[in-house]
């Protein structure tokens, strides 16, 4: 199928800690960088979609950009927020409502694990009072079971985290830019067995923006449009093992990531064997391991060998989280998925600098996953 939507510009405000800058400020900076990258002006933009957890109204960014009166829709879907923003922006173009628009994500979180009222997640209050309403515990449980069922070692978790910190060192926009040895990672404080402190990403601050247009108009703006071949969002089905579940049924089925992934491959007419560069949700090192299989890049258990052989490194056959992923960049929820798109666009254009995947990658893949069992997948190509 001919692509209908193209990405012509990407912009990022670095991820980290920025005293004195609000989420909206960072959003405006990311938008200006994306516009400059696309070679268009704010007044050319016909519509926008904004995603954030902390900022109630991302559309308030128009006060900093210019009051042009455009359609501006705000979305929130947990860790998959940016996938929803991107999917909605692409739909708006496919439907023919507008030809040129942008998706922007911004956030500014306090340090520490996310906290919220369980009742807002359709969980009873007692679930929080028992100490169960915490996402990191779910990730510990899921990878612990996966390791037992599929023969994954603690060393493999440390290798994944060490790779992502290493990739962060060569990414000037990353939050964590210091390499950590596998030993330091394994010996850091145990948070939720088997996951240690340095195997987790942390909440932080940042923003990212993407300029999209109707595919047939892309060459008006750029010689290297990156086509958005699919962008899907799925929620959990009965029997999936998902975060914030006080109980699970006896019957079991695959998670929301698998559903979003299969739908995206089908829409794009592209299979996992065609993908050259990959961004996966690495809330923790275990998630990256599991998501390799859930997104179709290997059978369950093969990660042990693939990771030991360096297959997921920048020079490997399946380069994953080449910009350091969430582990090195942290997670400003609204922006995280557009950071993934930013990296893939640079990789496909061949402008990723020191992080460039060799061999002229042509197809890129991104995946998000988070509470309460929501996943988003995008497939991009030259």
């Amino acid at each position: 199928m001919n692509p209908e939507v193209a990405i012509i510009g990407v912009g990022l405000h670095p991820f980290g800690r920025f005293a004195g800058l609000s989420g909206i400020d960072m959003g405006a900076i990311a938008i200006r960088r994306a516009l400059a990258d696309a070679g268009v002006e704010w007044r050319d933009i016909q519509f926008a979609v904004g995603g954030s957890y902390e900022v109630d109204n991302p559309d308030a960014v128009v006060a900093l950009m210019g009051l042009t009166g455009i359609q501006f829709t705000d979305v929130y879907n947990g860790c998959a927020t940016a996938a929803s923003a991107l999917a909605l922006a692409a739909q708006t173009i496919r439907l023919g409502d507008h030809d040129l628009g942008l998706a922007v994500g911004m956030d500014k979180h306090l340090p520490g694990a996310f906290s919220a009222d369980p009742r807002n997640y359709a969980c009873p209050s007692w679930y929080g009072e028992m100490g169960h309403f915490i996402t990191t515990k779910f990730f510990g449980m899921k990878i612990n079971k996966y390791m037992t069922d599929h023969g994954i070692s603690h060393e493999t978790l440390a290798r994944v985290a060490a790779k992502n910190y290493r990739n962060g060192v060569i990414n000037p926009n990353a939050f964590r830019r210091k390499a950590l040895s596998e030993e330091e990672i394994l010996n850091s404080a145990m948070l939720n067995y088997p996951l240690t402190q340095y195997m987790f990403c942390s909440p932080d601050e940042g923003a990212a923006a993407v300029v999209l247009c109707k595919a047939e108009k892309a060459h008006l703006y750029t010689d290297t449009p990156i086509y958005l071949r699919a962008s899907t969002v799925r929620t959990r089905r009965l029997g999936a093992f998902e975060v914030h579940s006080p109980w699970l049924p006896i019957e079991e089925t695959v998670g929301a990531t698998v559903d979003a992934s299969r739908a995206a491959y089908e829409l794009a007419g592209i299979g996992p064997e065609d993908v050259d560069v990959i961004q996966l949700q690495d809330t923790d090192a275990g998630s990256e391991v599991i998501h390799m299989a859930e997104n179709g890049f290997c059978p369950d258990g093969e990660q042990e060998k693939l990771i030991a052989e360096g297959t997921t490194e920048i020079g490997g056959r399946l380069p994953i989280n080449t910009d350091g992923g969430l582990i090195a960049n942290g997670e400003p929820i609204g922006a995280s998925g557009l950071r993934q798109i930013h990296e893939i666009v640079h990789q496909l254009r061949g402008t990723a600098g020191e992080r460039q995947v060799p061999g002229n990658p042509r197809v890129g893949y991104t995946q998000l996953y988070g509470a309460p069992g929501t996943a988003g997948v995008s497939i991009l190509s030259l």
Partner: protein, 139 residues
């Protein structure tokens, strides 16, 4: 001092034979915990109360080595926090229940091990009463 359950309708208490209180769909036999008004499988609203089995097998587990944010966490926080283990226990043919585990040593926890329901102290409420909650212990 009074012992009060963490929430009404969660488990039978006080009782010599405490049970978790779930619900079962009259139409498709789906079991939930805690009880709820609609069936997550068939979406009908014909749920009836169902006391759950006391024993099951551990299906997945981890440890909670740092204090969860308080509130909502009602147990001791700060330097009084004691790490705990948590897991899903599969009650055969009924449901998998997420619960605190009495064993906290990773070397002693194994998926498939047999476990039994116990009612244990969690913390104190604002009246100074002991809050009790459900947990599972190896048996």
């Amino acid at each position: 001092m009074a012992q009060v359950p963490l929430a009404a309708g969660l488990f039978s208490w006080p009782s010599d034979d405490p049970r978790l209180l779930g619900s079962e769909c009259s139409a498709c036999a789906m079991v939930t915990f805690p009880s709820q008004d609609s069936c997550p499988r068939c979406a009908l609203t014909e749920m009836v109360s169902k006391p759950l089995a006391r024993r099951g097998r551990l299906w997945a587990w981890t440890t909670q080595n740092f204090p969860p944010p308080s509130p909502p966490y009602a147990g001791a926080s700060g330097k009084d926090f004691k790490p705990f283990a948590v897991g899903y226990v599969e009650l055969s043919g009924e449901v998998k229940v997420e619960a605190r585990l009495m064993e906290t040593d990773p070397a002693k926890l194994q998926n498939g091990m047999e476990m039994e329901l116990v009612i244990v102290p969690l913390g104190k409420n604002t009246d100074g009463d002991d809050i009790v909650t459900f947990a599972f212990t190896a048996c």
